[in-house]
Symmetry: C2
Subunit: 250 residues, 2 copies
């Protein structure tokens, strides 16, 4: 592991980066995934590398949608696994949500390695691909009939592309975790959590615990009142205000 | 090489990304360099993946400074070489400016591989490190006495850190190429070109050709009138206006 000086202004971000580099060395992350992570880093930097206020509404709505779903599922790729397999595994186990491994740069070897990361958790993992999603051009179109294809809500994370539209075309609800509020993934999903994956699951767990004490009608109302486009706009305004705040370039 | 669909909205950016992946496979780029490239991609995306108006002033001032310098030098790292060694080599040859290989993740092997990329150009290359810069904590502090250490102006590119301050402490003028207008490199340099390295050298060559037809007094005035902080602010305002322009999230 690279030795990072503790006084580096971006120490935390550089430590997260090391997880990707480790995942890369293990064969879980592809080179293109490292670049994609860098893009995410830049957007995290723009929000101040912390969970920002408007996004809590997306967290609450995501918890509501997951609680109302009959067969939710979490789609995991190499970057997601490298960054947060422990958080994802714990969350999936606690709420009994299965995981499907879904890769842009698909290989049987990578699927196996990612699967291994989750084996210490009591979680159902789908990694047999026997059906294709419409309109998705990459290998991510390969999904499991018993898994994503049979689900009603899919949580996708750290992926830039046409997956949400493909999923919605076959009637799925989509929750995306994506740091870029302007990405196709962010804009095409039902709910977008604009936050760093390493911060997501502890917060989402809190909302799940909190909402599960309420009746279905309350949970349903939260979901009905949620406006993803509005939240994305608020995120953008937050970024813009931060960039123009006094002192940032003095 | 990965097959990228021509209709992908970010086709050009993905093709540039492939250069990094190629450089990585050749051992010119380190894994951390791929992540750093991703950060750059995100900032390029924020300016619209094109050279923006306020930056032309930085180009003009850079050309002026290079023309007025006695011993300018170009510091090159792995990412810079992977992205643009041909542009850099041609520019260095045309204006008789030497190159020094300067690496954060230093290895003799990488220095050799990067040197090889430039061997078809008639350019002086420094790759013997016999003196250390003050205050620079990474391996980039290792420079050549005959190269960077004896220069009066250093051009640095795609690096995030304390190098410009170290160079200025020993009296060098610093021109930085950096897509993040808020980075330490951007803010601590005399002139910052906020642009994608792949676009820089053709534009800079045009300014060099144009200014070299003027007298020293004209060139000197351009440099005196240049305000880097002002240009960085204009870049930031450009980004903010772009993010808030109608339609971007409708």
């Amino acid at each position: 592991m690279t030795d990072i000086p503790k006084d580096h202004p971006r120490y935390k971000s550089l430590m997260i980066r090391e997880r990707l580099v480790e995942g890369f060395k293990k064969g879980v992350v592809v080179p293109q995934g490292l670049i994609a992570h860098g893009r995410g880093e830049a957007f995290d930097y723009l929000i101040g590398e912390e969970t920002i206020e408007p996004v809590y509404k997306a967290y609450e709505a995501s918890a509501a949608l997951l609680l109302l779903s009959q067969n939710p599922i979490i789609a995991v790729n190499g970057n997601a696994a490298a960054l947060a397999y422990e958080d994802i595994g714990r969350f999936a186990e606690k709420f009994n949500i299965p995981i499907e491994i879904n890769l842009f740069h698909f290989s049987v070897e990578r699927v196996r390695k990612i699967r291994e990361l989750f084996e210490s958790f009591n979680v159902k993992i789908f990694d047999v691909y026997d059906v294709e999603l419409p309109t998705v051009s990459s290998k991510r179109r390969l999904v499991s009939r018993e898994g994503i294809y049979s689900s009603d809500t899919v949580m996708v994370m750290i992926e830039d592309g046409d997956m949400p539209i493909g999923l919605r075309k076959i009637g799925k609800k989509v929750i995306a975790i994506d740091l870029n509020p302007l990405s196709r993934t962010a804009r095409d999903s039902d709910i977008t959590i604009v936050d760093n994956l390493v911060r997501v699951f502890p917060i989402l767990t809190r909302y799940m615990d909190k909402l599960s004490r309420h009746g279905q009608d309350v949970i349903r109302r939260i979901l009905e009142d949620y406006d993803n486009n509005e939240v994305l706009k608020e995120v953008l305004i937050y970024i813009v205000e931060r960039l123009t705040s006094p002192g940032i370039l003095d």
